[in-house]
Every structure is written in C-alpha cells, then in structure tokens.
Symmetry: C2
Subunit: 347 residues, 2 copies
DNA sequence: CTGGTCCTTGTTACCGATAACAGGATACTA
DNA sequence: TAGTATCCTGTTATCGGTAACAAGGACCAG
C-alpha cells in the first residue's frame, strides 16, 4: 500500500495535520518540525493522493483541453503552448479530441468539467448553439475559448481577427490579378463564417461581384478539403484562385488538384490559413495567413489560471485578439520570395 | 453547489446507499426504485464526483499517456488510436509530452502514476536506465510501453521490429547502388540503438565496411536532424546516401540539405522511418519505413485495460511486434512509382 | 406458528486529505 | 504574579462516494 499522511504521522508521533502542514508549506509550522517531516516523507517515498486532496479542497490541478483535431498540427502547437504555461503553475493537462463532432464535444466537455479546475475549448459548435455552454457558465464553469470563439457568449477568449484573415487572403489573390476567386468555406463555426465574411468584404471593396456558386462548403479537415475539391473538379468550372478556410483543408484540396493533373499555383492558385507546420515544405509551399499559436495557447492558459485563482479581470482584458499576417509562398502563384520559403530556418 | 448522492437521497427519502446502487446498476436493487432514483437524478442533473469515487474505489478511469513529442504526428496518430479503444471502455486520457527529455519523463510519470489507473509510455530514456521503471513496476504500477520498449524490463509492450526497420532502409539504399551509406542515429533510446544495429547488419550482409565516421548522432526531433545535417555539411564529406533514424529528423535533414543548395534524392539520398503524415506531400516525398500506428495504439490500449481489469495475459501475448515495410518515394533517388506518392488518396 | 431463505434497504465505517477551531506552551508585559 | 499575545500542534468534522455487514419484511416449508 502507498504511504499516506497517517503513516508518516505515526512514524513521527505527531498528528496528520502537522504532517499535512509541513507538506504544504503552511506558515503555521515550526521550521524544525517541517524538516523532520519532509525528511521522513522523502524516505518513505510519500506521494500525496490527488483524489483525496481534490475531494477535500475541490481543486484538482487539472486543466481540460478540448480541441477539434489533434492530427491538425495547429492544435498541437496551441496545446504545447498551453502546457508551457500550465505546467510551471502546477497544472496537468487532460486532452480530448472531438474530430469536429459537436455531439462528442458536448459529451466530452460535460465529463471534463467535473474532474478539472477549468477547460480550454476550441469549439466545433455553430455560433448559434450557445445554449449548453451558457448554462454551464451560469453554473460557474470556468471556461476559456481558444481559436474559435462564440461572440454571444460572455466568456474569456483568445482568437485571431478572422474577418481580417479572410480579407488578407482574398486581397492577396486579387492583387495577383485574379478576378474569379472562389472560397472553400468551413463548417458552421463562427471562425468559418467570419473568414467567409472577410472573403466577401475583400471582393466588395474591389467592386467584384460576389458569386454564390464560387463558394462551396467543405469542412475543416484535410479529408474534407480533399473531397470537396474533387467534387468541384468533377463538376468543372473551378475558379482560377481559391481561398480555403484553413491549411489542412487547403492541403487536402491541393492533393485533389494534383491528382486531377492540374498544377497548384499555375492552374489554380490556393491560399490557406493557420500556417501549420510543414506548410512551407510541401511540394508546392502553401501561401497562408499566420498568427501566433504559441501566444494563443499561452494567453488562454493565463486567462484560465486567473479564472481558477479567482482573480477577476476586466471584461476587455478577457478577450484577446491576435493580429494575422499574410505569408506568401508559391501555392498562390506569386513568385516565392526565396527557395526555402519563409521563416523556417533552424527549427 | 452541485447535486450529490445525499441530495437525491433526501429528495426521495431513501439512503445514500440506495441511490449509489441505482446509479451504478447494482444487482441488489429493486427495479422500480432504480427507475425512481434515475429519474430524480436526471431531473436534478446529477453528475457523480469523480474524485470522491476515485478515492473510495481507487479507480480513476483515467489513462495517462506519456509521449516524447506531440508535434510529431506519429505520436498524434498513436494517441488517437489509443483514444479509439479507451473511450468506449470508459476511460479518459491524460496526455503529457516530454520533448525527449528523460528528466521530465521521470517527473511526469511519477506524477501521473498516482492519479491514473495506468500509463502508456513511449520512453525517451536510455535502455539501461531501467531502474526507476523497475521500481515502479515492483510496486504494482500498471504500465504499457509503446513504440520504444526496454528489453530488460518485464513489462507489456507494443513496438515494431526496429532492427528490421534499419535493415529495410539500408538494404534499399544498397540496392539502389549506393556504397557509401551514412546514418543519422538517434539518441540513447533502445529504438535508436536497434535501428542502428539494423543499419550495420545490412551493411555487413553485403560485405560493406562499417565506417564509424559515417554514423552521426542527431536525436529524434526535426530541429536536431536539421542541426546535425548542417554541421555535417559544414564539415564536408557527406555520404551519397543516408538512413535517418526517424521521419522528423529526416525532414530536418532535408531542410538543411536544400539550404546548402544540394538536391535531396539526387545529391543525397535519404530514407527515414515512421511514415508520418505529410511525408508523401513534401517537396521531395520521403522514402520511409512504415508500420501501423493505429494498430500500435489500439493494442497498447487493450493491453493496459486488461492489466487494469486484472486479466492476466501470457507473457507472450504481452509483447506485440508489428511488421515494418518499406515505402519507396523519391527522397532516396529511386524513381517514384507514381506522381502522387503511395497510399494517400482519399485521406 | 416457527424458522429459514430471499430480496431489498439501511447503518456504519472508511478512502486520504484539509478546514476550522480548540488548546497547550512559552515569552513578554504590566 | 497574573494576564495576554504568539506560536505551534492536536481534535473533530467534512468532502462525496463505496464496501461490508446488519436488519426488516415477505414468503414458504415443515
């Protein structure tokens, strides 16, 4: 059986409470006593029982993370950034992937909420589906949204300016001389809607007609981008330039285009979003819109830890928007600025 | 405050125990009573307190996963496979990344061991460093090793035949006519050592001289492969063909080779191992050795769940070896079998 | 009518920690 | 020397469940 507080107490002839205080560095304890206790605890290889501690204090020192897709390196980066803040603060991570499935997401969140101190969620839900989250928040759930936010929800959040992401990508394609510009749109998430909004706004600014038939819904997974593009190619009438909602879907689309015998960047210009790892090393390096994943994860972790520690923040400080920037590579047909792409050396 | 068993019991005028039995589908309970309890539990939105349950039963229904690098999609795939088995069995995953740091690994494992029902570990430790794990196993820790095993440890494990991985890769380079074949070797893990052994064995079979100066240690991360290759290039005397211990390091090496103005597959032939996602979509598609990541994860999860449930297995069944196979793409200089690489359609 | 079995429910104690309060010892002050 | 402040330690109850045992009632056989 594992060593418990009681074992150490017996060994030393003191009370459990004294041992507990020594272990937790409580101020009300004699320095000598603490030394003695710690020495014995170490000798007996004492490891506190986290479940008992959690039960008594209702603090688990666990942070739950719910992401739509762990195979998307974008989220792997965000997760790693969260970890870099959470671990030094004494938290461990409970990670779940929903595979972009809203039903699974609700289930996961429900299960995690009660065994963690708080959640960081990148939601696959439609922005209208705020009901369940609203209820949880009312009941005191500690949640921070990351990457995909829900405007109607009063909840701390870290994201990029997705409208601007759409504008940057589309504007770039326009500036390259393209006029017939398509969009592979994501699912029902707010992020997808905003990027589409950016796409339309960029077209409108240049007085280009918005053609509904040039917008097709694909989803956010690589496989979905592949399928959507394949169908589009089969139907014909594929535009000369396409802004794809995110990098994985863009890479899927790339695949479909190449399989159809067309050349990405020549026959079809592509721009993605997210700047995922490997995007610069692909057969055709992917032009994309980028923002900091590490900042995103770190800020989210900080916000959540503040929430957990009960340090209230001004509402403004609880909504962090990261600025996006365009990264030009060759999938858009622009001349690539260097042979090796952008900003990849030394990684 | 959250609903507890006691709340429901009070509401219904029964004892906590009856409620507990109803919730857990205990056989010793009247069907009507159970219905009534469940109805009220549902109405009051009861969610059992996992910490209390874990404390009372010493079962947490958590599985800990320790991987060396979450940015390596190889481990993301393994993790997803573990999840596909663990979730239906009622377990949630606590995931940690060690970034190939042995000290961090020990710390993580120590912390996880006591808050989970068991661990699945892909260790960054040297195969000689079995002391701490041996001790944990003696104390009854439930551990399954995955991908990187430690032969001297009597512990269930799932891995591939790493000697054969090295043989397949090196043999292929030999069969392409190369005679001066180098090896970028991993760190001190058993996996690295075995792949190197395979490399040497393949050379020996063809009566090729084993030249120590053609073997350089790099590590297992992409950044390490990049650095090692850059240093090798700076020193000069880079061989015409190199087997790199794994795909991320190979991709890093690729990067360095291209930056030096050389062509991968023409000036330097590369073979990696692991068949990571995107390997087929790179500027120069990566020749590699592959085995099933999903099988690996699923088997590991099954073994661990059996351990947790106390179902002893024969020692033989507890050591699963997956067969590796060569996947030829163009980084080795062989003519690629098709324009789109191998087995990527429809993903 | 008594005693035993079966089925269901309740009682008590405990898992391993912590919070809140009580109390003993020592030292300092008036 | 009594009073009180300070510092440290112990006692008791509690967190929310579950295991083990006790016990009440219905039913049946002898």
């Amino acid at each position: 059986m594992r060593t418990t507080l009681a074992d150490i107490a017996r060994e030393l002839g003191v009370s459990k409470m004294t041992v507990s205080r020594a272990i937790n560095n409580h101020p009300l304890i004699n320095a000598d006593t603490r030394e003695r206790v710690l020495e014995v605890a170490h000798r007996m290889n004492y490891q506190p029982n986290q479940h008992a501690r959690a039960l008594a204090t209702s603090r688990s020192y666990l942070i739950g993370i719910v992401v739509p897709d762990l195979m998307n390196l974008y989220f792997a980066e965000v997760t790693r950034a969260i970890e870099s803040v959470a671990r030094p603060a004494g938290f461990q991570l409970l990670i779940c992937s929903t595979d972009e499935d809203p039903t699974r997401e609700i289930g996961q969140v429900d299960a995690l909420l009660h065994r963690t101190d708080g959640l960081i969620i990148s939601s696959a839900l439609a922005p209208t589906e705020t009901k369940s989250y609203r209820k949880m928040l009312e009941e005191g759930a500690r949640i921070v949204l990351v990457d995909r936010t829900m405007r109607k929800l009063r909840c701390p959040a870290v994201a990029t300016d997705n409208v601007r992401v759409g504008i940057l990508a589309t504007q770039h394609l326009i500036s390259l001389g393209h006029r017939r510009i398509g969009h592979l749109c994501g699912d029902g998430s707010s992020m997808s809607a905003e990027r589409r909004q950016g796409y339309e706004r960029a077209l409108a600014r240049q007085k280009l007609r918005i053609d509904e038939s040039l917008v097709r819904t694909c989803g956010l997974l690589e496989s979905e981008g592949y399928l959507a593009m394949r169908m589009w190619l089969a139907k014909g009438d594929v535009p000369e330039a396409i802004f794809v909602v995110n990098d994985p879907a863009a890479i899927g689309a790339m695949q479909a285009i190449e399989e159809a015998g067309l050349r990405v960047g020549k026959d079809v210009a592509l721009v993605g979003a997210g700047n995922i790892h490997y995007g610069d090393m692909l057969r055709v390096p992917l032009t994309t819109v980028s923002w900091s994943r590490s900042e995103m994860g770190q800020e989210a972790a900080r916000l959540l830890i503040q929430l957990i520690n009960g340090k209230a923040q001004s509402a403004k400080a609880q909504n962090i928007i990261l600025a996006p920037e365009l990264i030009v590579r060759s999938s858009c047909g622009a001349k690539s600025p260097g042979s090796a792409g952008t900003g990849t050396a030394g990684r």
